[in-house]
Amino acid sequence: MAKWLEDHLPKVVLAPSFIAVLIFVYGFIAWTGWVSLTRSRLLPKYEIEGLIQYERLFAAPRWDVAMNNLFVFGGLFIVISMALGLLLAILLDQNIRTEGAIRTIYLYPMALSMIVTGTAWKWILNPGLGIEATVRGWGFEGFTFDWLVNPEMAIYAIVIAAIWQSSGFIMALFLAGLRSVDTEIIRAAQVDGIPTWRVYSAIIIPSMAPIFLSAFIVLAHLAIKSFDLVIALTGGGPGFATDLPATYMYAMAFSRGDLGQAASSAMVMMAVVFAIVVPYLYSELRAKND
């Protein structure tokens, strides 16, 4: 018995965590999936009724808004964060004397809770007391910045806050990537007389393709999970104008008592994440094991 334990100790040590993951990740996903196929309302039922929850989901106008917002928000968030991150990384790569301090400033928002971020930006974008009032106070009477209460524009307010929070991290990622490019290649280019901007566009940036992918994955992941920020900034409003799948799910689960809808919306979120992350993880792990 003791010998068996000794031989298998590594597996025994890993087992509890692994079993925990099996149950609390995969088991739970299966449970949620199951419930998404039932008529559960306030309490879960376990008789499979088919795909009615998904039919209801895709027919719900609120869900439409949520998914739409996800793509608008997600798209803008990812693209602008990457562009801004890249720009800042390139700027910071230019032998800046106070680089450390500036980097710290660009990155600190990542250390904050999204609730804090939402709270701060809610105040800044407050129509009447925030930026709108300030700029008006400077003489621009006609300036309006009421995005936060404007159903059409509210989602873009969230984009601004989200970019503020995450672009610093993307910058750090890209900066590390810029600097991991083989210096010999760059020196060869410089000896060849290639101008700086060209060195970036033709040599450095193309070689950073894997890092762009990593950044995309991280940002997409953040976008899909965005819950805290929306709750703090707009609560999903005005009305449902800034609803995202995450807030929809939460509302269905805890306010509306519609577990079937909560489960199905959660499963759809899962599917979206799955579609993006699995190919990435697969290629990463394969590369690491080579």
Partner: protein, 304 residues
């Protein structure tokens, strides 16, 4: 690990014509201007939070968002800490601050310890299926937690942990395991396997090798993991709002309640003070140990 310290393009020493040099100086001015502008963009919210929290409500209503306070008052901070209303109770942020501490500290310690052991097993004790197990655990990091909220709520209820601090600790440990294991595994993989072999020849067993050889080597990754986990758990809102009740709520939930409470007059200065209180621990950790924080963020994201 890539070093963020050395710029890619060193300035070439060759001189240039006068107009070229002028152009280059102008370019550097533009560069610094841009950098400063962006710095302002990132600092603005912090600045606004701090100044607003030090103003009186009068000044806020009549004054300017970006103006410095004419009269500095700490009244808002007092209120935020001890008497702001989070729903029915009006005890300020203080009790919730401690809730977060009670949740974060055990959760960080346990998930870090487990992550270290798991990473050690996966990295140094190859056995069939180890990589598969690791992959499955890793995937768990990436799921949207919405998909486990419902079953977890039911489970906590069944276990009698619904709305309790231990319940939240449990949740954070489980869902933090993926990341902590990832960090330690990536770190231990860089330690040559001959070290463990030499120790085996010396007679050391599984735990001895971990305790005497790997753990002493692990300080850098422990710091990274602890900082990462602390930040994640302290800043969490989703689990907090789903699995706590009045009294056991973490600070993020309390903050949201204070800010979004619909009763009474909106006290913006109190809101801002409360936000800063909520942000302070992780912000301080970042300022003090930011280097390690960045390493944690980029570990496993940057290839190679």
């Amino acid at each position: 690990m890539t070093d963020l310290a050395t710029p890619t393009l060193r300035r070439s020493p060759s001189g240039s014509r006068a107009s070229g040099r002028l152009g280059r100086i102008a370019l550097r001015w533009l560069l610094y201007t841009l950098l400063v502008l962006f710095a302002l963009y990132y600092l603005l919210p912090l600045f606004v939070m701090v100044t607003t929290s030090l103003k009186s409500l009068e000044e806020i209503r009549t004054g300017n968002l970006v103006a410095l306070p004419r009269e500095v008052t700490l009244a808002a901070w007092q209120t935020a800490w001890s008497s702001a209303c989070t729903g029915i109770q009006c005890d300020g942020m203080r009790p919730y601050f401690w809730n977060s501490v009670l949740i974060a500290v055990p959760a960080v310690l346990i998930s870090t310890l487990l992550g270290a052991l798991n990473g050690y097993v996966v990295a140094q004790w190859r056995f069939r299926g180890a990589n598969m197990i690791f992959a499955l655990m890793l995937f768990g990091c990436f799921i949207p937690f919405q998909v486990v909220l419902l079953p977890m709520a039911r489970l906590l209820g069944i276990m009698g942990l619904a709305g309790t601090i231990p319940g939240l600790v449990f949740v954070h440990v489980i869902y933090g395991l993926g990341f902590t294991t990832l960090f330690f595994r990536n770190y231990y993989v860089t330690i040559p396997s001959e070290l463990a072999k030499a120790a085996k020849v010396d007679g050391a067993g599984f735990f001895r090798i971990f305790w005497s050889i790997f753990l002493p080597l692990s300080l850098p990754i422990i710091v990274v993991t602890v900082i990462w986990q602390f930040t994640q758990i302290w800043n969490d809102f989703l689990f907090g709002v789903s699995f706590s009740q009045a009294g056991t709520q973490p600070i993020t939930v309390a903050l949201n309640n204070i800010v979004n409470s619909t009763t009474g007059v909106k006290e913006y200065n109190v809101d801002m003070a409360a936000a800063i209180i909520a942000a302070l621990p992780t912000l301080l950790v970042y300022i003090v140990a930011g280097k390690y924080f960045i390493r944690g963020l980029t570990a496993g994201s940057v290839k190679g």
